[in-house]
């Protein structure tokens, strides 16, 4: 237990969602990133429990200790603040003046209102709690029109009739699997059983609203990356797709993705085709996904490095910078450094678009990082005329570029 748990508890009191915080008293995420925050009590470092990727360690971190601000001997010393003068210990609760039942009831009623006590001393209405509870049986009970309350749309994935065999015969129930979602990235899957289909659907909707998950989505309403997950024997693979593709997936997976608001995705059920398990597997798969910004923050590196690694590994173009800035870096540099005549002589080697793109991006990134005084704004304005003279550059060593200045 963290020694500072009381402080953190009362600090986070209004949220009352303490379980996730409580379970990680001693875990530190990327130490480099969090060392300035190591003074904060541990339970405030909320990290979802299923993040599995360990942070990268560079050798300078290996000497650090994880318990810089935590002293295990601290618990064993007890140094209470000083007693105020004239402090009289209050009487224990069963000594002390005996209050009559009336007094007790009156005190309670002052604090809480008559609630369910059946009698009132302060003149409150005894049936005050009835107005707050809607009737489920009786006269006014059928007036519930549950439309799209609280913004969630429900869709039934499957209704099955299930049987329990008892001595007297077969007992039939209906089991409904319902997916609930607003189209803004929150979905939930729920099951419910009842003797009537409608009741089962309602129960499962209630259940679904209880376990809602947030889907990480990009600007184009698709996933940040591929992911696979399994639940039981159902295995689901999800893949992002370019805008205009639509949701290409079967049955339960499609319904979950549609209600999440994902517009372009590919999904496949690889294992069993049980609807409930597949719906749950997509939820698990979606929970495993991370946004680029989250990963970059966790590893403590800028996002451009992430995309560069990705580009090198997967060999694809990553759109970090708008693709229309295809620059001849050397040409620009020379031009704006005042040596226009040399600029025209800058090499123009025709390459196919793909490999040089990564080079161009690299130079661009390096330029941005190392020469902040580079006139980027001028380049952007000049972009359109330069596009006509699109010249690809083969591998310039950056030293050359700097030397040219």
């Amino acid at each position: 237990m963290a020694a500072a748990s009381a402080t953190s508890l009362s600090a986070t009191f209004s949220s009352l969602s303490l379980n996730s915080l409580r379970r990680k008293p001693y875990l530190f995420s990327s130490h480099r990133l969090h060392s300035p925050t190591a003074k904060i009590p541990f339970s405030l470092l909320s990290k979802p429990p299923h993040k599995l990727s360990p942070p990268k360690v560079n050798p300078s971190d290996l000497e650090t200790t994880f318990f810089d601000s935590f002293d295990p001997e601290e618990i064993s010393t007890f140094s209470p603040p000083e007693a105020p003068e004239g402090f009289i210990a209050p009487p224990s609760f069963d000594e002390g003046p005996f209050e009559s039942e009336d007094d007790i009831a009156r005190a309670y009623e002052e604090l809480y209102g008559p609630a369910y006590s059946g009698e009132t001393f302060l003149g409150n209405d005894v049936y005050v709690m009835d107005s707050k509870v809607k009737k489920t049986t009786g006269f006014g009970s059928k007036n519930k029109k549950e439309k799209v309350r609280d913004g969630f749309e429900e869709r039934v994935v499957q209704v099955r009739r299930v049987t329990k065999v008892v001595k007297g015969g077969k007992q039939l129930h209906f089991r409904a699997v319902v997916v609930v979602g607003d189209k803004q990235g929150n979905v939930g899957v729920g099951v419910g059983k009842a003797k009537e289909v409608v009741a089962a659907v309602q129960k499962s909707a209630v259940n679904a609203r209880r376990n809602i998950v947030a889907v990480p989505m990009t600007k184009y309403k698709t996933f940040p990356h591929r992911s696979e997950a399994d639940y039981g024997a159902a295995r689901v693979m999800l893949r992002p797709a370019s805008p205009g593709t639509g949701v290409i997936a079967g049955g339960a997976v499609r319904i979950v993705l549609e209600l999440a608001g994902v517009e372009n995705a590919l999904g496949k059920q690889l294992g069993s085709n049980n609807a409930l398990n597949n719906a749950r597997a997509t939820v698990v798969a979606v929970q495993k996904m991370r946004q680029f910004s989250e990963v970059a923050q966790e590893r403590g590196i800028p996002m451009e490095e992430l995309s560069r690694n990705l580009g090198n590994e997967m060999g694809k173009k990553i759109e970090l910078i708008p693709s229309s800035i295809k620059v001849n870096v050397k040409r620009f540099f020379l031009k704006y450094s005042g040596r226009a005549e040399k600029a025209d002589k800058a090499g123009t080697v025709a390459n196919d678009g793909k490999t040089s793109m990564t080079y161009l991006k690299l130079e661009w990134i390096l330029l941005q990082l190392t020469c902040p005084s580079f006139p980027f704004d001028l380049i952007k304005k000049e972009r359109t005329p330069m596009l006509d003279e699109l010249q690809e550059v083969d591998s310039i060593s950056f030293r050359d570029v700097c030397a040219a200045k």
Binding site: M1, A3, S5, A6, T7, L9, S10, A11, F13, L16, S17, L18, N19, R22, I75, S76, T77, F78, P80, P81, E82, A83, P84, F87, A89, P90, S92, F93, D94, G96, E99, I104, A107, Y108, E109, L111, Y112, G113, A115, Y116, S117, G118, E119, V126, M129, D130, K132, V133
Partner: protein, 236 residues
């Protein structure tokens, strides 16, 4: 959160027997940091740590009472039942001294139905309608009423879920603790050497068998609640 003085002294605790644990064979190894010694086949808890946690619990309770939060004290051991009831009356908070019905908090809507019934029965009793029923029906109704009184009597003023729950013996009230965890309600628990300290939010390693030790700890907490309430009333 300010740390106040709660009049916790170790001699008092020694006198009450707070430091005794359960037998050596029944311990939970997770309690190892809070056990200081082993004497005559019984584990002895480290009182400085107990005092530390108790003062933290009192701080938390004082803080939340000064914000007007609702408390629930749960203690169903027959030894502890009376002290729990007295403590709750003194502190003006809800309590459960007889059996903790399963789903009291997680199935709050059903518990509320029972509370409604309780209230209606009491109204009937007050207005004297019970005397007009035939004897058998009256007896049935009276039995129901007494049943509801024993189980729900302490929570009849509760309108919603409580904000903090104080549990007297974790081993005994495991279902109550589980319910609070699923609902995300912060808990303060009296932990003995055979209990798991990681389940509750603030666990106070103490003796849950001796009435005097339960009384002492409840005294401190009740004092804190009263102080908090008075400061709440002052600031209103």
């Amino acid at each position: 959160m300010t740390r106040r003085y709660w009049n916790i002294n170790l001699e008092e605790m020694l006198e009450a027997g707070v430091h005794f644990g359960h037998g050596t064979r029944k311990w939970n190894p997770k309690m190892a940091p809070y056990i200081s010694a082993k004497r005559k086949g019984i584990h002895i808890t480290n009182l400085t740590r107990t005092a530390r946690f108790l003062s933290e619990a009192c701080d938390l309770v004082f803080d939340s009472a000064s914000r007007g939060k609702q408390f629930l004290i749960v203690g169903t051991k027959n030894k502890a039942a009376d002290s729990v009831a007295w403590a709750a009356i003194k502190a003006r908070c809800h309590c459960v001294n007889k059996k903790w019905l399963g789903g009291m908090l997680t199935n709050w809507s059903t518990t509320e139905t029972r509370l409604h019934k309780f209230r209606d029965l009491r109204m009937e009793q007050k207005t004297g309608r019970l005397n007009r029923l035939p004897k058998r029906d009256a007896a049935v109704v009276k039995r129901q009423l007494s049943r509801l009184q024993t189980y729900l009597g302490g929570i009849k003023y509760m309108t919603g879920l409580p904000d903090i729950v104080i549990i007297v013996d974790q081993h005994e009230e495991y279902t109550a603790l589980r319910e609070c965890i699923t609902l995300g309600i912060p808990t303060i628990c009296l932990i003995d050497t055979n209990c798991d300290p990681d389940l509750a939010d603030i666990s106070i390693p103490a003796n849950d068998d001796a009435i005097s030790s339960i009384r002492l700890i409840l005294n401190k907490l009740v004092f804190a609640i009263c102080e908090g309430r008075s400061s709440y009333i002052r600031n209103l």
